[in-house]
């Protein structure tokens, strides 16, 4: 009986070791699996941007064709609190190695402190707000900051002789960043700021502000607003017989703005992420059209590159922990992608890129120069 007991005990110990052994093997296998989380507005006010991000990322994933890479999409509705829960799910439950996403700067700024603390790198595919540049060591972005975007608009307005400008901006990190940069730089170049109005997202009635703008002689209106509000604004500008030139910003570069603004969107001038026209871009744009039957959107190109850079950084990283992946991103030199060459500068912005000037002619967006 005693012998039997010893035998049982021994066999349990042996099995336990075997079990442990096999579970250890499993974790080794699991470590090779790479998980990338995508945070993007799949629903909500700027859902069109989320749709672009998903199309571009799916295409990039198909191209890379590596069964060890898993992509997990989470919706942020371009809303900071939704973004924070999406991120918590990604880092605590899915345990992603890295996050690519959100075009909404307010979401990126909301999740940045937690990501820095948990040491999970984030490569933003579209948050241009100035503050994102100082959001911490683990926050990267693949485009230049809004400081540059605003400066281009300042110079552009001065060059067109629009010396008296009123500003109507959306009250979030992106809108406020652009407004502040504009208010700081425009007077330096000899311009004069007339009226400044912040509007809440989802506003539909701009008639009273426009009336005030009309009473103060205004050559131009700088309006960093989301496409939905911007569309209504340009309509009401036209309806009220105001002839000031409207300057917009990067989010105007969506079909939604043209739909919302109707024929009033013609002649609007705006800046948006620079478009690169090398072979990498041509290649991607052809594949995109074959796969989805639509012309590639400007933002989709940035999502595609952001995802591919993320994969490359993880693959080149010695270990799959945040610190090493971060180092690996910083070591990327002259990554040639569909948006041109990417390097990361001191503020983790992709350097060397800029913004294009665009306008809308007969319902189509056209690059100027």
């Amino acid at each position: 009986m005693r012998k039997l007991k010893i035998l049982i005990t021994l066999s349990i110990i042996v099995f336990a070791f075997m079990g442990c052994n096999s579970c250890h093997q499993k974790t080794v296998v699991r470590e090779k699996k790479i998980k990338i989380g995508i945070i993007t507005p799949l629903t909500g006010d700027v859902a069109t941007w989320g749709a672009m991000q998903k199309r571009a990322t799916d295409l990039a994933l198909e191209e890379i064709n590596d069964s060890n890479i898993t992509v997990i999409y989470e919706d942020d509705k371009a809303d900071p609190s939704t973004g924070v829960s999406a991120m918590n799910k990604l880092i605590n439950i899915d345990k992603v190695n890295m996050i690519v996403g959100s075009p909404a700067s307010n979401v990126t700024l909301a999740i940045a402190p937690i990501l820095n603390e948990k040491k999970v790198p984030l490569l933003s595919s579209g948050s241009t707000a100035t503050k994102v540049g100082d959001a911490g060591p683990y926050i990267f972005r693949i485009m230049p900051s809004d400081e540059i975007q605003s400066l281009i608009t300042v110079d552009w307005a001065i060059a067109l002789g629009k010396k008296r400008v009123s500003v109507v901006y959306v009250q979030n990190a992106w809108g406020e960043g652009l407004k502040e940069a504009f208010l700081r730089d425009f007077p330096k170049k000899g311009g004069q700021i007339q009226e400044v109005y912040g509007v809440a997202p989802n506003s539909i009635d701009f008639k009273t502000i426009l009336q005030k703008i009309k009473e103060n002689t205004t050559d131009a209106i700088y309006a960093p607003l989301y496409p939905k509000e911007a569309g209504i604004l340009v309509k009401q500008i036209k309806e009220l017989g105001i002839e000031s030139q409207v300057f917009g910003a990067d989010v105007y570069d969506t079909p939604e703005f043209i739909t919302a603004g109707g024929s009033a969107s013609n002649g609007i001038l705006y800046t948006t992420f620079g478009q690169y026209t090398g072979t990498e871009f041509e290649d991607f744009s052809r594949k995109y059209k074959e796969r989805y039957g639509i012309e590639v959107e400007n933002y989709a190109v940035y999502c595609y590159d952001a995802f591919k850079i993320a994969v490359e950084a993880i693959n080149k990283s010695t270990h799959l922990d945040g610190e090493n992946i971060r180092k690996s991103i910083l070591q990327i030199k002259d990554y040639k992608g569909a948006t041109g060459i990417s390097n990361f500068d001191g503020n983790n912005n992709a350097s060397g890129k800029t913004f294009d000037k665009k306008t809308i002619k007969e319902g189509k967006s056209v690059i100027i120069e």
């Binding site: 629903t43 909500g44 006010d45 859902a47 069109t48 009250q171 109005y197 912040g198 509007v199 809440a200 989802n202 506003s203 539909i204 009635d205 008639k207 009273t208 502000i209 009336q211 005030k212 009309k214 496409p227 939905k228 569309g231 209504i232 309509k235 036209k238 309806e239 009220l240 017989g241 939604e256 739909t259 919302a260 603004g261 109707g262 024929s263 009033a264």
Partner: protein
């Protein structure tokens, strides 16, 4: 002058929505939050009919108003009436109504997508000049239609048998049942008319300022505030309430800042709730209403 015109436009929009909401609130005594989606769906039906079936615009507007009225009535028959049968507490209606709003709003998002849609494809042109202000054709239509509907429905409520029954049910449903007026049937009619009015308001608003699946909610909120300020159940109070917030909003935007438009609205609401909780009309609320 432009300021005055802007105020008038907001006033009519608040009035029509507040009126359609109070019609339902009146006879059922609970906040029908899903009314917001009734406003939205009116506009989306027009979009659906004109774009999918290329039905001419006036016909599809009529069809949409009918379809939306049917949805409103369906809410009542399928949800609220069942709840009344089970005699659930008043709070349950509010929660059911919020649930209904979320479900229906997501249905619209699923079918049509979340991006802006337009039902008014006409070229954007400079409005008609009235003195030194500008007004577009759609805005003129909004004013005319609002006045016409407001007057017509009020006449209906005061001078027809059905209208009188609606008011009777509003004041005492149990007594009406004793007198042989079916309160269920009357509530159904109130839902039908209220929803049709809301659909009209939604379509007019969407023609002026585009639409997204959530646009009805903000519109409804102002309508409800106008109703509370005006005093529940008083038509004249509603007119005064709508006028007060429309003016307050635009004056705040003009003289202070646009950031204050919403704040001013709710400050007025709070002031009224503290000092004049019964609104302009000052009618005392019955226990069942609270």
């Amino acid at each position: 002058m432009q300021l005055l015109l802007n105020e008038i436009l907001s006033f009519f929009s608040f009035l029509l929505i507040g009126f359609s909401f109070s019609l339902i609130y009146h006879s059922t005594r609970f906040f029908h939050i899903a009314h917001a989606i009734i406003i939205t769906s009116g506009a989306y039906f027009v979009f659906f009919f004109t774009n999918k079936f290329s039905i001419p615009f006036p016909v599809s507007v009529t069809l949409s108003i009918l379809a939306t009225a049917i949805i409103g009535v369906a809410c009542e028959i399928l949800v609220y009436r069942q709840m009344r049968k089970r005699n659930v507490p008043a709070l349950a209606y509010l929660i059911a109504s919020i649930g209904l709003y979320v479900v229906l709003q997501n249905c619209i998002s699923l079918f049509f997508g979340d991006d802006t849609k337009i039902i008014n494809t006409a070229e954007v042109t400079v409005g008609h000049q009235v003195f030194d202000a500008y007004i577009t054709t759609i805005q003129i239509i909004t004013i005319v239609v609002s006045i016409a509907l407001f007057v017509a429905v009020n006449l209906f409520l005061h001078y027809t048998a059905t209208g009188k029954s609606i008011r009777a049910v509003a004041s005492n449903p149990e007594l009406c049942n004793i007198y042989g007026i079916s309160s269920n049937k009357i509530i159904l009619i109130a839902f039908g008319i209220g929803s049709a009015l809301a659909a009209t308001a939604g379509i007019l608003s969407a023609m002026d300022t585009n639409m997204t699946p959530t646009f009805g909610f903000n519109l409804l909120l102002y309508g409800v505030v106008a109703m509370i300020i005006g005093g529940v159940g008083s038509t004249r109070g509603l007119v005064a309430g709508a006028l007060l917030i429309a003016s307050a909003q635009h004056l705040a935007a003009y003289y202070i800042d646009t950031k204050w438009m919403d704040a001013v609205t709710y400050i007025i609401l709070i002031l009224f709730l503290i000092w004049k909780p019964l609104g302009f009309s000052g009618k005392r609320l019955k226990k069942v209403e609270v």
